[in-house]
Assembly symmetry: C2
Homo-oligomer: 325 residues x 2
DNA sequence: CTGAAAGCGCTAACAT
DNA sequence: ATGTTAGCGCTTTCAG
């Protein structure tokens, strides 16, 4: 019985007919010796490890990101890959440091890589690179780099469009869009704002009021809420649930009834949205569906499939209808 | 110029005198060819990679865990190691799956490994295993396994003791401890409760009222809050800030003034604690200090140091004094 | 169907 | 001071 035989049975190599008896002997021995193959040697030989690396910039991690990470971990586990997240500190150390620690099978960029880092990544030889970053553009000169780039729209266009469509469906014509100026969330905020404006345009609405606020406190939105009465704005789409709850609070202070005088729709479906006053209508994100799509794409590329699965046309968001809109 | 020479200059191998000129030639060539060493080959040769793996069970990730992850990432980066977190689904797949994807330099257990998994880990040959899990006991039979085990107390004993000590210092003698029965947080809740009871005992207090609640809603604590008036309880220590805020809310409903009628102290120092009514006195956790300690311990073990640094006697928590106690 | 053997890229011991 | 070389543990042709 040789190493090769062992390798075959342990890896279930197809088209290799190993007699059942040998097979069992191998398995039994492996079991008895608590044998487990060396990841390092396998990676060296195979050119890649079984690790899928998520990259995220350091910063507050909330329930939305948490759900995403959970979903990815669970999903990749189902096809023999291990998902791990690396939080990188932009400016402090280059992300490329990560590639001297591991040779991942795929990298999933969740946020915060700049153009140069993207290019490095494409050059790094990682088989698949999935980006959720709204502003990510694959480096055109690096097409033949061997890295397959997959971009997925998540938590911006489809979600913001749903917000607007719901207000339109419930009869609102003059709407406001509240966005955040915090540079930490700039990319996402811009993506959502753009999508909301586009959806409004497509629905034939007059150009929405765009309100930029610095944070999600009720004070920050109070002034805007008061002007809306005069402007005839009856529905408002917010950057996220936290901003929506600030609007709810400001509306109450201004003596407006929600949703009769002002309909408010958030985004993220945070746990707190359910217990808001009134319960917040919002758009929830489908972390599992996204993880599934990403998982299938990665598996397809690693298997050498020429084309990756189609992105679901519905996006990865759904309306959560409660009382506020 | 041979591979060895190159290896020496690239790794800054000590006690190898390489002429400056050769050195520069190597560096220049590496630069020009965008050379970067293969992690797989290095891990194979060195017996370990430069990756430190955090293990966490899947589940809601809040700001406390987020801060911990951020601190760890930043800290390990400073000594050439890369930190990544793996979220594992207990029951779904064995954690040991991870060791077929990577050979980490160290594993940091943040939560949720059972006894068998602990033992597997000690057997896996990972150089260092750091555990923050309050219930973690190194497997005694596996002492010679080559895995160095370091246990750190975080977010339980020292923190809960601080809560009690603050109430004692502000003159309270009859106190209540509110703990959570949610099985997801059992270990942590038990650790905190034990420590609080012990601290009360040491301070010579009568045995505290122990209140077990199922969740952190105001309803869940309302009944207990009402009985406290009759029992003469003047101070309450809670499992965390969320429970504390529920107590605050229930106290208000019961017509109690905080802190005059009832002093409340939380744990975690969530962002929301600052804007609670009244601002919540609480115990903050020192994620950076912990990360620093863990980082130093790991570095010491990897460097072959016989003894790891002393754990700071103050623990990794500090009092955040606001208005509620 | 199974055994032998060639490397994957790197480091450290050894020889020059 | 620099070059040569033996493996680390695995997968995969290639012969038998």
């Amino acid at each position: 019985m040789s190493r090769a035989t062992v390798s075959y049975v342990l890896n279930d190599t197809p088209h290799q007919k190993i007699p059942q008896q040998t097979r069992e002997r191998v398995l039994e021995a492996a079991q008895r010796l608590a044998y487990s193959p060396s990841p390092a040697a396998r990676s060296l030989r195979n050119g890649r490890s079984d690790l899928v690396l998520g990259v995220l910039k350091v910063g507050p991690i909330g329930s939305v990101v948490g759900a995403l990470l959970n979903a990815m971990s669970t999903r990749f586990g189902t096809d023999g890959l291990t998902f791990a997240v690396h939080l990188h500190s932009p400016g402090l150390r280059p992300v490329s440091d990560v590639w001297k620690a591991v040779t991942p099978a795929a990298v999933v960029v969740l946020s915060g890589l700049d153009a140069a880092e993207q290019a490095d990544l494409q050059r790094s030889g990682t088989p698949v690179l999935v980006s959720l970053s709204p502003a990510f553009t694959p480096h055109p000169l690096l097409d033949g780099s061997g890295t397959r780039v997959v971009c997925v729209e998540y938590a911006s266009r489809a979600a913001a469009a749903l917000q607007v469509e719901h207000l339109v469906a419930t009869g609102h014509r003059r709407i406001a869009v509240v966005t955040l100026t915090d540079p930490q969330v700039r990319q996402l905020a811009e993506g959502r704002l753009d999508a909301a404006l586009e959806a409004a345009h497509e629905a034939g609405l007059p150009a929405p009021h765009v309100v930029e606020v610095a944070d999600d406190s009720p004070q920050a939105v109070a002034a805007a809420v008061r002007t809306w009465q005069a402007e005839g704005v009856t529905g408002v789409v917010t950057y996220n649930d936290e901003v929506a709850m600030a609007v709810l609070s400001a509306a109450r202070d201004a003596g407006l009834r929600v949703p009769e005088d002002l309909a408010v729709i958030g985004l993220d479906d945070l746990p707190a949205a359910r217990s808001a006053q009134p319960p917040l209508t919002t758009v929830g994100l489908d972390a599992e569906a996204l993880a599934d799509f990403v998982g299938r794409s990665v598996a397809a590329v690693l298997a050498g499939d020429p084309d990756v699965p189609e992105e679901p046309t519905t996006g990865f968001a759904h309306l959560v209808r409660r009382a506020s809109a």
